[in-house]
Amino acid sequence: MLDGLIHEIKAFIIETLGLEDIAPEDIDQDAPLFGEGLGLDSIDSLELGVGLQKRYGLKISAESDETRQIFSSARALAEYVAAQRTR
């Protein structure tokens, strides 16, 4: 169940951020999304926040320890979406 959602989240990240030449399989589900790992930046986090609101009805605050945890990996983001989604 969660595996399917992790794959969906990876595809969502790729589509939302326009990541060229990257397939869901290329994203390590436990690797950091920002800085090291996938190499996303702060503008990407804002873009993902807007995208998560549109796609899953989630509202994520811009700056909090919880936000850092949610965005720490594709798996962490999938777990959060599974628990909090409203659509």
Binding site: L17, G18, L19, E20, I22, D44, L46, G49, V50
Partner: protein, 251 residues
Amino acid sequence: MNLRGWTAWAPGRETPAAWRAWALDAVPGAQREEAAAAEAEAPSVREIPPLLRRRADKMGRAALHVLSRPELPYGDQAIVLCSRIGEFSRSFALQDELAREGRVSPQQFSMAVHNAAGGLFMMARAANAPLSALAAGEEGALAGLQETLGLFADGAETVWLLYCDEPLPREYHSFASARELTAYFAFLLELSPGDEFHLAPEGGDEDGKAMTDRAASPLDLLAFFLRPGDGALRLSPRGGWMLRRTPRGRS
């Protein structure tokens, strides 16, 4: 000033030979757009890392393409980016999104500035040279040269002068000036101080070119540089400045 090198890209015109052939036929002031420019695909820009190039749109990719040609390597010089409307399709899409949804894409918003394409290139090269971005209406060709001469006066040994534009969105086509803005192109001139070319105030016109009521466009400027037989290009419609080529043997 001297022209040390150039690169150029437009849909269907991607090699120096194609550009030289184009310049031979180019008539100053003529419409040179291709009907397909609005639908034309942008270059792939493989030279720029994916995480950076994904943020460039149509015009930005054309700009990054001409900035990244291996035959004209970047030497940390100042870049002057000169574009009449910039990546306007991005700004228009943002306004449309704002009107429909009340929020905009942060990523798109972050790139909706006139110097965005030059900034991406500087980031890709980890360069910290000066980058100017100009939008000078119909007189962009002149403004870019003036900015370049200003940098020479400031001690620059070479300058990269980049001209780029994309077609205005269809929604603007009912405006008369929009009909002039249908070209999709980017070209880069590497210029250095020298006496091959000079800007001269309006005076006797030994080349017999008639006064025009329009400024030279950036593509007029490129055609002039690529046609060795041309002696002068009128840059400004109100008198003002001519770009002159120093006749051989006098330089």
